[in-house]
């Protein structure tokens, strides 16, 4: 029978597919919130006994990755009144194909490196690889600044997932430091986004090309 984590992770993989196909920012943000929630609750399923520190840390991760970050972006696009579709470099249909290839390649990769044996669920490593590469893809294939930042967050989610799956006894205080760094980074990016919006009245990064050589 399927491990309960795997069902969640299948949905995460599916959400990657939708993130690639979706042209609307609110959808992308919702997908990211979902991924954030799943990624942060995975430790609950993996570890047999949770220490108090572990529970506190997992809750903090859940709050930051699943609620605070997506919510702040959501309120930001509401405030900015962004309705337009995301500007792309790679078209949506091509992106969907890319995501399919990715979903095939990631399990192959995790089989090849024999990563499965380290983690509890079957799909954790392949999902993590998919998230990392998918985040990078969004960074490269979208011209919209918010979509790029969302890609970065997706990548961070993937790395966090690899971290929880692979490294056993990590110190929570260190993990918390990483989390704070990521949060601060995202907030700084959000400030930059607002400045870009103020200066250019939209978020197309193609305009940011004055500096060359």
């Amino acid at each position: 029978m399927i491990h309960p984590v795997d069902i969640l992770l299948i949905l995460v993989l599916l959400s990657v597919l939708f993130a690639f196909a979706s042209s609307r920012l609110p959808v992308l943000i919702r997908i990211l919130a979902f991924q954030g929630v799943v990624v942060s609750i995975v430790p609950f399923f993996l570890e047999h006994e949770m220490t108090a520190g572990g529970i506190i840390f997992t809750t903090a991760t859940l709050t930051i990755r699943g609620i605070i970050i997506p919510w702040s972006f959501y309120s930001m696009i509401k405030k900015m009144g962004i309705k337009r579709e995301v500007e792309t470099i790679v078209s949506y249909n091509a992106s969907v194909f890319a995501s399919l290839l990715l979903i095939v390649a990631a399990p192959m990769l995790s089989h090849k490196f024999n990563m499965i044996s380290f983690s509890g669920g079957t799909l954790i490593t392949s999902t993590a690889i998919t998230l990392v590469v998918a985040g990078m893809f969004l960074l490269m294939a979208r011209r919209n600044a918010i979509a790029m930042v969302l890609g970065y967050i997706m990548m961070e989610n993937g790395i966090y997932l690899i971290g929880t799956a692979l490294s056993s006894g990590a110190q929570h205080i260190v993990e918390f430091g990483i989390l704070l760094d990521v949060l601060a980074g995202v907030m700084i990016m959000a400030i930059m986004l607002q400045s870009i919006k103020q200066k250019y009245d939209n978020l197309d990064t193609a305009q940011l090309s004055k500096l060359k050589e």
């Binding site: 029978m1 399927i2 795997d6 069902i7 299948i10 993989l13 599916l14 597919l17 196909a21 949506y92 249909n93 969907v96 995501s99 399919l100 979903i103 095939v104 399990p107 079957t122 799909l123 392949s126």
Partner: protein, 306 residues
């Protein structure tokens, strides 16, 4: 065998009735009373009593179109396990045969449409030829999945008896994606909203209906009947997948199947009521989603079956 043939005839007879269920659901959503459930029988009888008009510019291909498409649909139905009973005909690899029999029917519809030399019909034919290509990719992806799960290439192996629930047991959650993919194929192949709107009156935006504008009387009746059967054909897949229950008594079994089938038709009706037709360039996106889902399900399942 006798039972299978009876079921086959029953399915043909019931297909217009089920098509009317969609109309009823749409009427309900529109707050209207809607046509009677037997409306399609009346229409078919009316059409059969009329005479046909043929344009001077058409050839025998135009007359062949409706007959070929109907016989293709009937033929396909022969291989379909209805209500979980074994089909009339079955051999290893029949899934591919059936897909191409349906393709043959489509070919003749398209050829007949091109034969009229009407620009509208040519346009519809081009669309009719384009979207099923993606559907075919999806179908094959699903077949690969089913083949991996059962090791056989017959519809009988997938949809008879307890086989269907077996698919669910092995594959689990990814089967949901297969159901979704099938549903999208159903909508596309049968020209339903949001891919195509059968009720629209603007030829420019049509796909299927525009191709049969020049057919009249009995010819049109045959095309309509063929379309009903095709819809039933695809709905059966979905119905069996969402309701894989297999009862011992054939009659109970049939009732359960009919109920599941009504569920599918109601779902189509609801989809048509709540969704608007897609812009033509978004349709390929939509159909591609089905491929993505099927592909995804296949990859995930292979991951587990290994």
């Amino acid at each position: 065998m006798i039972e299978s043939i009876i079921l086959w005839i029953l399915a043909i007879c019931l297909s217009p009735f089920y098509a009317a269920v969609i109309l009823k659901v749409k009427a309900f959503f529109g707050g209207k009373k809607g046509p009677p459930l037997l409306i399609h029988y009346f229409t078919l009888i009316k059409l059969m009593q009329k005479g046909s008009v043929y344009s001077n510019s058409t050839t025998f291909i135009f007359k062949m179109g409706p007959i070929a498409s109907l016989s293709a649909a009937l033929m396909a139905l022969l291989f379909l396990p209805i209500a979980g009973r074994s089909p009339v005909l079955s051999f290893n690899g029949d899934v591919i045969f059936v897909l191409y029999v349906l393709g043959l029917g489509r070919f003749f519809t398209i050829a007949a449409a091109m034969d009229t030399a009407s620009p509208f019909e040519g346009m519809g034919a081009a669309r009719e030829a384009f979207f099923p290509i993606i559907c075919e990719a999806t179908m094959f992806m699903i077949l690969i999945l089913f083949f991996q799960l059962t090791g056989e290439l017959t519809f009988a192996a997938y949809f008879t008896g307890i086989q269907t629930s077996g698919l669910w047991r092995v594959a689990g959650a990814p089967m949901l994606f297969v159901v979704m993919a099938f549903f999208i194929i159903l909508l596309t192949e049968n020209s339903r909203v949001p891919v195509d709107d059968p009720a629209t009156h603007l030829e420019l935006t049509m796909i299927h209906e525009v191709m049969v504008l020049d057919h009249s009387g009995p010819d049109f009746g045959l095309i309509e009947l063929g379309a009903f059967i095709k819809l039933l054909f695809y709905s059966t897949f979905v119905a069996r997948l969402i309701c894989p229950i297999h009862a011992a008594h054939p009659f109970v079994n049939f009732v359960i199947f009919c109920a599941a089938l009504s569920g599918v038709y109601v779902a189509i009706g609801v989809t048509e009521s709540v969704m608007a037709r897609f812009r033509m360039d978004r349709v390929s996106h939509f159909v591609l989603t089905s491929f993505a889902l099927a592909f995804f399900a296949t990859v995930i399942t292979l991951e587990f079956v290994k």
